[in-house]
Symmetry: C2
């Protein structure tokens, strides 16, 4: 169903149900690439971010938070000020503006992303490319459009909304070093917003101009990569991998290392924990693969993307694992004049390398909904979302069988008891059948009905979303029961 | 200890220990009003935000997330474009720029905040105000400096980093209404960043140019305020309150309502749950008070600030409870052309009112550290932070008595077992005494030591931060034990 209809259907469903609204601000017409997360979308996003937190914390990475707005000097040093741009062309007739590479790809079928402006202009010289708005042939120059959002702080300090969290995470390196008592390797991660001023982004949450990143950074000396001990914990994971210009193979990480598909244990470990994390989100093996970059950044030692096969948009990058070498710390040492180095075991000072795991919670959110929506059961217009239980926004809904005070009282008590540990919802309007449908349509795993028997035997009926089986559970056991089943 | 030394001492302590670094980016000299949250600071901030989440969720408020960057039309409508500004003066000689009202207050002792530019200029006409930088008398005009951070999106769409989350929370009102199935009252909340381009902010986290807000919005019809049922749950709370131009009294919310200190039950309920929330953060009654605004915004029906008595900065506003009436929804209805109304029980359409609870997690974080640092025990340079257990960044530290494989193995197993539920730390370097001190200095409530007896009896020694008492606990019970004690 990889077609426009499927996309529109999915996007309208998740808006209607309260997951994602937009483009935002809707009542003022909206600006492309900006979205509101509704009540269910925000709960799902929190589940995703908390799963990321939990997993990285397990590996003793510590979360940090750096400013979104950072001064020019930072982006000069990082290279974003000169290098972070898209190639644009404009139509001479109607003045519409387009991304040159996208326009060429769409109309010529050639993949030209990453080519320089001179090469792109050759396509326009031939005058085969037409303006999608007015139909005129386009023959303008290709110019660079920097993708950062510029602002001013104080009276005239030039600053930018960050284009990535990574750079901001590197700058306090010496503070981290003190916190970790000068011992490498250590890891930190940051979850926060970043900005890319794309020209007319059109892929919903997959291409936000404002978007959330979750980026983990492992700092270690180059010589620590080879014998990275924790690798043994993930070495038997079997993963689909596509080497640059190669074919897809399913291979264990141990084998991938032996066959030089991956270069060292530390990097392979990062691939492994990333894969495990995406399994935690509920994605099936068959829709996950790692693909090596065909064009590597000049400073990168290795780079693989985790892709998910979406029903709406096909294979989509949702995470990248990058060995950034000692490039970042060296550049910021040089430009700031502060020595971002650490002592090795032999006492020598050296610049640590960085292995980065960079993912987009918004893309993950969209992907989870994409996968569940495709597998939904629709029966006479009824839709059931089989969201993974750990990702479901509402864990359980509590129904008094009827709007009677004695049933409502017990339902309220159950609500108050459960809400401290689980996001649960009270729903008393409509028939029980209608209430089941309502919860199914937003993926709630369990519905708890309080009936007149409950007043006598202290039990409630718990109905399972997937099997639709019903079970009587003692009220006092409900919290444990839910804890075990979710 | 309300003096500059105390402030500097606190700020340097929380930087050294890994709570808050800055101004950020430090290695490039830093920009006032921007900070990094280090590993401990971010854990503390997460504890604060998750406590806010939990409390509001308990009251069936749903979290949402809106964009930080919003177009001009929004800020025109909200009034921020014309009205959200500070009065500035500049020194004719050295060109330094100052906030006019602050400069006047500092040098004349008069409280002039909120006065219009004409009034402020009278102080400068007298030429008694001198430039703090060069000493020259200042006689310049007072001009308005808008506090929003302006940027451009696409090619030329004027947008701004939001000055508050509130306005962005109001815009999707019709989406919320659908989610709540057209039934009022309902509540939503948003936690996210906002920006104020202050001229030379100097109060550390209390005046960030980038800062986090947590703002809850209760939507209800005016006539629903009077008989707001949930009020009964908080009516007996006794709170210190200062009415505008009045004296501080300690009074129950029920009495406050009877004596017309507060206008209605819905608003009094908002005051009550705010107060309970700040008690959850661990603040003592004696440092908390509510103070009514002396100058109310023209559209506000009532407004009280929750203030905390800080050792470093004195009474400081950390939260505001505002009855914003139907002003916001009416303004955005008018400017957007979309009718932001809902149906009352009698079928009539009406514009809901909004009661807002607006707080700053960064201020709360700073206040928690301020309170604990003041009460720290310092013994021969040793510092112990009595952080509330639910706020402590690290809940427990695990120490193998010595660096021996058999002890490390057991310690690692305990770590892996606990880390899925609690943020715990492994620490094996230095004497046990030194490790206790290290954990005391960052407020860790419990230290768990694995010794040779542990290998025989399966028990570990748990040491309590506050009482310093030690207790033997079975390893298999540790998770439950911590759960109960934190």
């Amino acid at each position: 169903m990889k077609n426009d209809n499927a996309r529109e259907e999915l996007i309208s469903y998740i808006s209607e149900k309260g997951f994602v609204y937009g483009p935002s601000p809707e009542i003022y017409g909206g600006v492309s690439g900006f979205f509101d997360f509704g009540p269910l979308g925000k709960l799902l996003k929190n589940n995703i971010e908390n799963t990321i937190r939990k997993e990285f914390t397990k590996f003793q990475f510590y979360e940090i938070e750096c400013p979104i707005v950072m001064p020019k000097a930072v982006w000069e040093a990082s290279g974003h000020l000169s290098g972070f741009s898209d190639p644009l062309v404009s139509c001479q007739k109607c003045k519409s503006i387009f991304r040159a590479d996208n326009l060429i790809s769409e109309q010529s079928g050639d993949e030209v992303e990453g080519q320089d402006n001179k090469n792109l202009e050759k396509y326009f010289d031939g005058s085969k490319i037409k303006c999608p708005t007015c139909g005129e042939k386009i023959s303008s120059k290709v110019s660079n459009h920097n993708l950062m959002l510029k602002t001013n702080v104080g009276i005239d300090t030039e600053m930018y909304n960050r284009p990535e969290t990574a750079t901001t995470s590197y700058l306090p390196f010496l503070n981290y070093l003190r916190f970790f008592r000068d011992k490498l390797p250590f890891g930190i991660f940051q979850i926060g917003n970043a900005y890319r001023n794309e020209i007319s982004p059109r892929q919903h949450l997959l291409r936000g101009r404002e978007f959330t990143q979750a980026e983990a950074q492992l700092f270690l000396f180059e010589e620590q990569k080879k014998d990275f001990e924790k690798f043994s914990e993930v070495e038997n994971l079997k993963i689909s991998m596509i080497k640059a210009h190669g074919k897809e193979i399913k291979i264990s990480l141990k084998e991938a290392l032996e066959k030089n598909l991956l270069k060292n244990k530390a990097y392979a470990w990062a691939i492994g924990i990333t894969y495990s994390l995406f399994k935690e989100f509920g994605f099936e093996d068959s829709v996950l693969r790692f693909k090596q970059h065909e064009k590597m950044a000049f400073y990168a030692d290795d780079a693989w993307d985790l892709e998910i096969n979406l029903n709406s948009f096909g294979w989509t990058e949702c995470c990248g694992v990058h060995d950034r070498t000692d490039y970042d710390l060296k550049v910021h040492s040089e430009k700031s004049g502060k020595k971002l180095v650490a002592a090795k075991e032999n006492g020598e000072k050296g610049t640590p390398h960085i292995i980065e795991i960079a993912m987009g919670p918004n893309r993950i959110l969209f992907s989870i909904l994409d996968q569940c929506y495709n597998k939904k059961e629709t029966d006479e217009g009824k839709t059931k979302l089989h969201l993974p239980k750990n990702m479901a926004p509402i864990k359980a809904a509590i129904f008094p069988l009827m709007k009677k005070e004695e049933l409502q009282k017990v339902s309220n008590k159950i609500f108050e008891d459960l809400i401290s540990d689980f996001v649960v919802q009270l729903d008393e309007s409509g028939s029980i059948g209608k209430r089941y449908l309502r919860q199914d349509s937003i993926g709630t795993p369990y519905c708890i009905t309080v009936d007149y028997d409950s007043l006598k035997d202290g039990c409630v009926t718990v109905r399972d979303r997937d099997s639709e089986k019903q079970e009587r559970v003692k009220m006092e056991d409900l919290k444990n029961w839910l804890g075990k089943n979710i």
